[in-house]
């Protein structure tokens, strides 16, 4: 059997610190071998630079050029996922299905389906405001998904 530390390290990502901003470290994640042949390689970089960049709270005092181990906090990621995708999804379903239940005929020549769709999208936009305020409040309280676990290769002598 493998030991738990080896298992844990398999669950982490390695990255290099490229910038420091007050108490935050900007890190560039090392590319995985599986990425080389992936057709969507250039699409899955949120900032469009072709590099996977993350801004993480610098709790271990890392410096520019340090190679660091990044830990993903599963519970927080799950919570974020449910809020980010779950809330608009439930809103959309509720908007569409409830409108369909109460409105049976077209209004002013507009078909019921288009009214249902409009209501669904309206609830999605409203849920967007909810997510906006929720994430602002959580950011103030130091809620994060990734954290720096240890420095693997330090540039400091």
């Amino acid at each position: 059997m493998k030991n738990s530390d080896q298992y844990f390290k398999n669950d982490c990502e390695t990255a290099t610190v490229v910038d420091l901003q007050e108490n935050w470290a900007v890190v560039e994640l090392d590319e995985k071998g599986a990425c080389h042949n992936c057709g969507a390689k250039m699409l899955c970089r949120p900032n469009g630079s072709g590099k996977r960049i993350l801004r993480i709270s610098n709790t271990i005092n890392a410096n520019i050029g340090d190679q660091v181990l990044i830990e993903q906090i599963g519970a927080n990621q799950l919570k974020l996922t449910l809020i980010q995708y779950g809330l608009p999804l439930i809103g959309f379903l509720a908007g569409v299905l409830l409108t369909g239940r109460f409105i049976k005929d077209s209004i002013l020549g507009v078909p019921v389906e288009i009214i249902q769709m409009f209501c669904g999208i309206l609830v999605v936009i409203l849920s967007g405001f909810g997510i906006y305020f929720w994430s602002k409040r959580k950011a103030k309280r130091g809620f994060y998904v990734f954290r720096l676990r240890e420095i693997l290769n330090s540039t400091r002598k």
Partner: protein
Amino acid sequence: MNLILIFISAAIINNYVLVSFLGICPFIGVSKKLGSAVSMGMATTFVMTITAAVAWLLNKYILVGLHLEFLQIVSFILVIASLVQLVEMFIKKVSRPLYDTLGIFLPLITTNCAILGLALFLVMKQYNFTESIVFGFASGVGFTLALVIMAGIREELELAEVPQPFRGAPITLIVAGCLALAFMGFSGLI
């Protein structure tokens, strides 16, 4: 009752990944960690549900209305790509930290053939608007279910002593085959 049957049928009996073998790329690629699998599954469910609604409206009021049914595949691809971009822009505006953390899953959905399969299937099955949305949602739930089961097994496999020739892709494909066999047991339920 009809909606419940559609839900069970799309999520379990005709599971996109394990029965129709659609969306195999993210199924293998994003099923290494449970957290990532749930995130990818939720993002896909969200996009699938909205795609089902948009594809139904597009098909009924534009393609069928103007007798342009031969443009179905092209227009659905365009709709899915635009929709994913819109959702991405929406999340980016709503919350930048959320986008940086989970936004990575959205562009990957553009290349997921299960979404195009969903749009084509719902036209073929001639569902009404509400049924189409339930079908889209259930397909996403089925996709998430397959991804989460696979991720759970792969996390356990990390701790197991797998023989050297079977490590990595071979054992993953064997597990996927076993799961597909297990899901075949649901056929004929409805």
